[in-house]
């Protein structure tokens, strides 16, 4: 818009709002429709994968990483937990824990629930530092606690019917889910046989951070939807 056009716009509308409304529209970049179609297809495939991976919207598949880690760490680690035989080569939903009790949690330096309660509500605890101090056993136990806690939330799909206009955290949630799925399906299993446990341990710590963020977002979504009280 030229200065004279701006001048005229101000004169006609008598203010900034009028001048802004008079700004000319911009032309969208060429080739946009083809890119929309590409993105739509990529999103469709990603969501199909996510549905398969995350089951009913909760962290069903989160047990995969835990199971794999448990298997690698030797028999007896998951005392009281029955793991399907095909867990050694897991598909997205190949692993099912049949036992609810996981004795490994008792071996963690502190109960996972206590760690979580310390990290919730802005307590003066450095969550990352706590993860640094956890050994593999404690990390696995904490992962399982995180999964259970996520499952306990009411299912809420921000992209579901009637929610298309919601200005929410859908993008962040799905991004977190994708990152966790990537860790579970690829990175963590791929590093377990490397001999050096420092890498999978680091990945599990990263996973714990992502799961914590995911829980916070899903909790906020559920609270916003009125499914639960935002009591912490």
């Amino acid at each position: 818009m030229t200065s004279s056009q701006t001048e005229n716009s101000f004169a006609e509308d008598g203010g900034i709002a009028g001048a802004l409304r008079a700004l000319p529209p911009k032309k969208a970049p060429d080739g946009g429709w083809e890119r929309v179609l590409d993105r739509h297809e990529a999103r469709r495939q990603l969501e199909s994968r996510r549905r398969r991976y995350w089951g009913g919207g909760m962290a069903v598949a989160a047990s995969i990483a835990v199971a794999v880690v448990g298997l690698q760490m030797g028999a007896g680690f998951f005392a009281g937990t029955d793991i399907d035989a095909d867990a050694r080569n897991p598909g997205p939903e190949a692993v099912v824990f049949r036992g609810e009790g996981v004795s490994s949690s008792s071996r963690a330096s502190r109960p996972p629930s206590q760690i979580a309660s310390e990290t919730a509500g802005g307590a003066a605890v450095d969550f990352g530092q706590q993860l640094e101090q956890m050994d593999m056993e404690a990390l696995v136990a904490f992962s399982q606690f995180q999964e259970e806690r996520l499952r306990s939330l009411p299912l809420f799909d921000p992209a579901g019917p009637g929610q298309v206009l919601e200005v929410g955290s859908f993008g962040l949630t799905t991004e977190l889910e994708d990152q966790i799925a990537l860790l579970d399906e690829g990175l963590i299993p791929a590093t377990l046989n490397a001999g050096d446990q420092a890498v999978p341990r680091r990945l599990l710590q990263e996973r714990a951070l992502l799961m914590e963020d995911l829980f916070d977002l899903r909790h906020a979504e559920a609270a916003e939807a009125g499914f639960i009280y935002a009591d912490f």
Partner: protein, 197 residues
């Protein structure tokens, strides 16, 4: 303006799109791509981000048009999706600390995000003046002054209060006037003098 108000579309295309007719979807895209891009560009100030929001918005249209019930016009519906996408982008940016800005917490718990200072010579141009605003202020100004949203609606979309929207708008107007003032004083025309009055 974004140009939504000037765009209409034959309801037959909407119904066809709802049945999954991709040609109808393409027609809708061609009709509304420029307004969506303009809105996104004005709200974010970045052509790259605006292009991304344009695509995201129409992916949303593709996914959600079957649920469009026609209670508002298609233009209104698409505009709302685009606005939502813009705000989601801003929110993600806040969360990830991607933007370089400072927060100033006010007495009422609201905050203003101020962009870095830019070169004074840009103040002569209204578009540049708009770009000089913080992301939040720019969004509020555009939504209120151009798209016609109320403070209450803006507050709901941004998860803020109406007073937050009002104060952002007032500060933005003040800033725009300050930005445009040197040019107006230089030209010394009655019109420019009036616009900063």
């Amino acid at each position: 303006m974004s140009g939504f108000a000037n765009r209409t579309i034959d309801p037959a295309f909407v119904r066809a799109a709802q049945r999954g007719d991709m040609k109808a979807h393409e027609i809708i895209y061609r009709q509304f791509a420029d307004p969506v891009y303009t809105l996104a560009l004005r709200m974010t100030g970045s052509p790259t981000v605006a292009d991304d929001i344009l695509q995201e918005s129409f992916v949303e249209v593709l996914r959600g048009i079957a649920k469009f019930r026609g209670e508002a016009s298609l233009a209104t519906w698409i505009r709302r999706i685009a606005v939502s996408r813009c705000l989601m982008h801003m929110r993600a940016a806040w969360n990830r600390r991607r933007l370089l800005f400072s927060e100033i917490v006010g007495d009422d718990g609201t905050f203003e995000i101020r962009a870095d200072e830019e070169t004074p010579e840009l103040a002569i141009d209204l578009e540049a003046a708009l770009d000089s605003l913080s992301p939040v202020a720019r969004a509020v100004v555009w939504l209120h002054d151009v798209e016609g949203y109320t403070h209450k609606e803006i507050a709901e979309m941004m998860n803020r209060t109406s007073s937050f929207s009002k104060s952002q708008l007032a500060r933005a107007h003040k800033r725009l006037r300050e930005r445009l003032a040197p040019a107006a004083e230089a030209s010394a025309t009655p019109v420019r003098q009036a616009m900063i009055a």
